[in-house]
Symmetry: D2
Subunit: 346 residues, 4 copies
C-alpha cells in the first residue's frame, strides 16, 4: 500500500500516518517527493487493505499495490487449475468444454430432447434452471425440485453431467443431491453467505461474473469459495452492463486473457446472456474460444418461441450443431498453431 500525502501536508500529519501504521505492526518507508510525500507500507496484505488512512488529515489518496486476492492468484498457484466434473476436465490446455441446455427446465420430454441433441452435437455437460432468479415476482420461477429430477433423468440417459443454479442456502442440500456443478448466478456473485456455503460443499462451482463487477471483485468472490475450502471454481464471463442497449449485455471477452493472466482458475464464456440475441451467439461463441476461454455455456431450446424464459437468446438444436462445428474449427486451429511455438500473451 502507498499513502500519497497532499501537497503541503504538515510534518505532524505525516507523522500521524506513520504512527498509526506502525502501531498496527506494519513496516513504513517515507519518501519525501518534490511535490508530495509518499509513505510506502509493508506488511501482510489482509491487514494493510483494511486501514482507513484515507480519512486522516493531510492524506490525498491511498494506492493499493497488491491484488487483494490470494488463493485465486496465479502468484499463489502458478499452474493452471483443472476442475474435474466426472470425466470432463475444465481448464489448462484441455480442449474447450461446452455446456448447453435450456434456460429453464420446462418438461421432462423437453429436457430429454435437448440433452440428446446437444450431446450428439458434441456438448460435454447439460445446463438447465430449476430455480430461476427473475426480475419480476410475476415471472415463471422454475419447476423447483421437479426440474432437478428431470435434469437427473437426462443425465442418466445421456451421461452428461448437469449444471444448475443455486439461489439460496436453504436449497443447497437438495441441489447437492441432484447436480454435478453448482452455478452461482450473476445477481448472487456478492451474496457472501451463499459463497461461503457452496465453499463448504465438495461440488465444483460455476461462478458467474456480476453485472457490474470488476475483474478484481469477481476474483474476490472466488476467494470466498476457495477460502472456505472448495478449490473447484470455474469462472464464467457472461456480459457486463454498459450504456449500449442494442445488445442485452456487453460480453467482455477482454476478461478472458486478463483472468488467465491473474489467476489459475479456468474461465468460460456465456455468449447467450452476453449478447442476448440468438443471432449473434455463434459469433461470440467463436470469439470467446479464440480469446482463450476454457469453454462455453450456451442456451439451447427445441422451440425458442415457446420457451418460458430467454427464448430470444436461445439457439435451436440445429443452430447449436452449427455453432459446435465453427467453435471446434477455431479450437483446432489454435491448437495447431500453438503446437509450433510458445504462445504470446496467452
Amino acid at each position: 500500500m502507498i499513502v500519497v500525502m497532499k501537497e503541503g501536508a504538515k510534518q505532524e500529519e505525516i507523522q500521524a500516518v506513520v504512527q498509526l501504521l506502525q502501531s498496527k505492526g506494519l513496516g513504513v518507508h517515507v519518501s519525501p517527493g518534490e511535490e508530495k510525500t509518499i509513505v510506502g507500507v509493508i506488511g501482510p496484505k489482509e491487514r494493510v487493505l483494511e486501514l482507513p488512512v484515507e480519512s486522516m488529515p493531510g492524506v490525498e489518496k491511498v494506492v493499493q499495490v497488491s491484488n487483494p486476492f490470494k488463493l485465486a492468484s496465479r502468484a499463489f498457484h502458478p499452474l493452471d487449475t483443472i476442475v474435474r466434473v466426472g470425466q470432463v476436465e475444465v481448464g489448462g490446455e484441455q480442449p474447450p468444454v461446452i455446456i448447453a441446455g435450456p434456460c429453464s427446465v420446462e418438461s421432462l420430454e423437453g429436457i430429454l430432447e435437448i440433452a440428446r441433441a446437444v450431446k450428439q452435437a458434441g456438448a460435454h455437460m447439460l445446463r438447465g434452471g430449476a430455480f430461476k432468479p427473475r426480475s419480476s415476482p410475476y415471472s415463471f420461477q422454475g419447476l423447483g425440485e421437479l426440474g432437478l429430477k428431470y435434469l437427473a433423468r437426462a443425465r442418466e440417459e445421456t451421461g452428461l453431467p448437469v449444471v444448475s443454479e443455486v439461489m439460496e442456502i436453504e436449497a443447497l442440500p437438495m441441489m447437492v443431491e441432484y447436480v454435478d456443478v453448482l452455478q452461482i448466478g450473476a445477481r448472487n456473485m456478492q451474496n457472501f453467505p451463499l459463497l461461503k456455503a457452496v465453499g463448504k460443499t465438495d461440488k465444483p462451482v460455476l461462478l458467474k461474473r456480476g453485472l457490474s463487477a470488476t475483474i478484481e471483485e469477481w476474483l474476490m468472490s472466488a476467494e470466498y469459495i476457495l477460502s472456505a475450502g472448495n478449490p473447484n471454481v470455474i469462472l464464467c464471463e457472461r456480459g457486463i452492463r454498459t450504456f449500449e442497449t442494442y445488445t442485452r449485455n456487453t460480453l467482455d471477452l477482454n476478461a478472458v486473457p486478463v483472468v488467465r493472466h491473474l489467476s489459475h482458475l479456468p474461465v468460460i464464456v456465456d455468449p447467450s446472456h452476453g449478447v442476448g440475441k440468438w443471432q449473434y451467439v455463434t459469433a461470440m461463441a467463436r470469439a470467446g474460444i479464440a480469446a482463450g476461454a476454457h469453454g462455453l455455456i450456451v442456451e439451447v431450446h427445441q422451440n425458442p418461441a415457446e420457451a418460458l424464459s430467454d427464448g430470444q437468446q436461445s439457439l435451436t438444436l440445429e443452430n447449436f450443431a452449427n455453432m459446435m462445428e465453427e467453435v471446434q474449427a477455431i479450437a483446432s486451429a489454435m491448437r495447431a498453431v500453438r503446437a509450433t511455438k510458445v504462445p504470446v500473451g496467452k
Copy 2:
C-alpha cells in the same frame, strides 16, 4: 406490448405472431405501416411480459409499453405512502428523516457515543452494521448478534429506532428481534429469496438500489417485497457504478424525482456510499434534500481514522452536526417556497 415486424416481414410471419398471441388469450391489433408492420398486444401485463415473441421469424423487436411493476406504481396507489417507524414518519410531505451512525457497530461505548451525538444534532434513527457484506473474506465481517445487542442498548438509551442490514434468510428471525428497520444492501437488491422473506415480516424495509440496477429493476425488487405482503418499503439511492473513478460511486440524484413520479414509496439518499469521500458528503446531502428526497442515511464515526470499515467516507460528530444545520436550512427553504404555490415537477 408492441411487436415491431422487420421491413419485408412475410404475411405468414405476421400471422404466426398474431396466432401465438391469440392462443395466449391476448387481444391483438395489427397496423400495417409504410416500412414496418406493428402488432399491438392488449392484455394483463404479467402475461404479456413473458412472451418470447422476439425469437420468432420476421420480428424485429418488442417494445414494452407498460411498466412491469404494479403494487409499487403510482398508478396503483396514487397517494404517497408514509412508512411509520415508531414515532418517525418517512414519506409524503413529512420533513426529511435523517438516519445516522457508523458503518459497523464496533463497541458498546462507540455506538453509544455516536447515538447520543447524532440524536443531539437532530437525527431521527440510528444505523449500524452487525453483519457486513465485504468484498474480501479477510475483512472485518461485523460483530454479529453482539452488534445487534449494542444497537438495542443504544436505542434504549436514546429512543432512536435502529436500522441494520440483513444478509441472509437464516439471520432474519434474530434481526427481527433487535432492529426496527431491515436494510437490504445494494449487493442483495436482486437476492429474490431474501426479498420474499423480508416481505413476509412486518418490519419496514430499507431497500438500497443495486450498483448497476436500473430504476425499473429497483422498483421490481420493491414489488417482490410488496407482493409478499409487506407494504412498508423505503427506497434508498446510494450511488451507481459508472466510469468515473474519482468518486467511489456516482450518486444518482436524478433517481429521486423519477422515483417520486413513478412510485408512491418514500425514497431517501445515502450520500456517504454515493460519493465515498467524507469531504463531499455534506454537499451531496444538501443536494439530495433539494432534489426532493424524503430523508438521508449518513455514516458517522467518532474517530473515522480508527474505523474498522468505511472510515474514509464517515463524517466526524462535528461535521455531522454541521451537515444537519445545512440540510435543515434547505428543507425549510423548500417548505417555505412550496407553501406559496403548487410545486413544479415535484
Copy 3:
C-alpha cells in the same frame, strides 16, 4: 509517479527502469517491499506523465501521484476564479448565475419572447444555438449566422449577454463578433484544435463535460484553453452516459463539489440535458445549486411541443419562473447558513 514492479521482478529489470528514468533526468527512489519493489519518480509532472515504463519487463503498473492538470488546479491558483461577462460575475461566492433560453434559435419573435420572459424571471444570460451538433445529418442544424443576429438583437433589447456554441474553428471569427460566451459542447470536449483556438480568443468559454469524460479529462480540456492564454473558463456538468435509460443522461452532481475542491474554476450545471425530461428539470436545478454549483444553464421554450429540437426537456416560460423561485430560495438558505459558520467540505 510510482512504478510498481511485479512480484519476483529481477534485479536487472528494476535497474533498467531506474536507468531509463535517470536518463530522462528524473529523480528515482527505490523501496524494496516484502512482495514488490516500488520505484518512486520525482520530477516535473509533464515529463513524468509521458513515460511508457508500463511496457518494460518486470513492471506491474504505474501509478500517477500528481494530477495531470496544472493551470486548472487549485494548488496552482488557490483562490476561486471569477469569470466576468459584462456585468455578470460567475464563480467564488457570487450568487448563482442563471443562463436560460431555447435549445436552438428558431425565429426572431421566438427568441425575443423568451429573452424578455427569462429576464423578467431573473435570468442573467441568454442561451441559444445557431449551429447545432445533431446526431443525424437529416436533423435541423440551426439557423447559422441568422441565429446569431437574432441573439444579438435579443441582447440589445434585454441587456442579457448571450451564450452560443461554436462547433468549428472556421466559424470562430463570426461567433466572436456576436456572442459574449463561447460554448464548447460535450461532443467537442476533446476537439483539441478547437480548444486551442478558443484559448486564443479573449471571450469567456463555457466548457461542457463530455458524455463519458472523467473529471480529470474535463479539467485537462480546460487546461488546453488556459494554456493557450485564456483564463476565463466556466465548467459545465451536463450529465454523463450510464446504463440508466429512464433519464436521457445521468446528471453527475458529485462532480460539483469535486471540481470545486480540485480547481479554482467556476462550475455550473445543465439540468436540462442532464436529465432530459422537463418534468425533472426543476428538481435537479435545485439540487445543483444545493450541491454548490455557481450557476445553471436551462432550456426554456415558449412552446416546447413546437420546438425544433429538445422540446421534451425544455421548460415553458411559466415553469421556468417557478424554477427560479425555488432555486433562489435554496441559494438564500445556503447563504444564510454559511454566514454563521465556516462551510464543511465546501
Copy 4:
C-alpha cells in the same frame, strides 16, 4: 414512430397529438388499449424523428420503430460494401486486412523499420499518427507534416498504403496529399463538421467508434460521411468506456456481428486501444477475427519502452509476427468451415 399515451390520458390530449402529427403531413393510426392508447405514426423517417411530441400533455413516451440511419443500413444496400485502398480490399468475404504501425510516427528510421517488418509479417497497410489528439496539452502532439512525409516514404519503399488520423478540417488538404485512408479518431466521432468535410473527399475513411457511442450513433456518424457523397467508410471498433479499469477500455466485440447485421459497411477491430495492454492484444486480435471482423488495426513499435505514446499497448515486431500467425490460422479455419455450409448468424 409510436406515441404511447399515459394511462388516463384525456381524449383532447390524444386529439392534440393526432392533430399535430397530421398537420406535419404524417399518417396516424390510433389504437385504444386496455390501459394506454397508442398512436402509430407513418411517414418519412427524417420528418418523424424530429417531433417533440414527448413534451405534449398526456404523452408518456415515444418509441422509435425505424433505425435513424438510411444510407448506412443493410436495408438500403443489401450487399456488403467492399472498400478498395490501392490493391487492398476491405469488407465482404475478403480475407481480413491487417493494418499495423506505431501510434505516432517518431522518426524516419523508426517508421521504415516498422513498415518493413510488418510487411514481412503479412500486414496489408501501415498506420502511424502525425497529428495526435492527446488529453494533455503538454504531451507529444506528433511530428505534423514531417510525420506525413515519413509515412509517404515508407509507402514508397514497401508499397503499403498508409492510414493516418485527421483532426481538423484545416489539415485536410495536406492529409489528402499524403495518406491513403483518413482516420477519424474516437474523440472526433461526433465532430460533425469534420465528418462532412471528409465526406466530400474521395479518400476512404476509417471511422472509429466513440468512447461512449452507441452502435446506432456510430452508424449515424457514418451516415454523415455517406450523405456527403463518400461511400468508402470502414468502421472500427476500438473499445468503449465502462466501469472496468483493469483494461484501458472494454473492446466491444459484440459490435462486430451487430454491425454486420445492421449495415453493409466493413468493420474492423483495434485490439491495441481496445484492451490497452500489449499482453492481451494477441488474444483480442484472435477474438476479433473470430467474431467476424473484416480486419484489424494494431499498434506495433520497434522498441515500446521508448515510444513517445502508447508504448504500453504496442506489440514488438516479434510479437506482431506471432500475432499474425495466430490470426491467420483462425481466419483460415473460419473460411474452411464456411466453405462447407451457410453461416449461422453471420
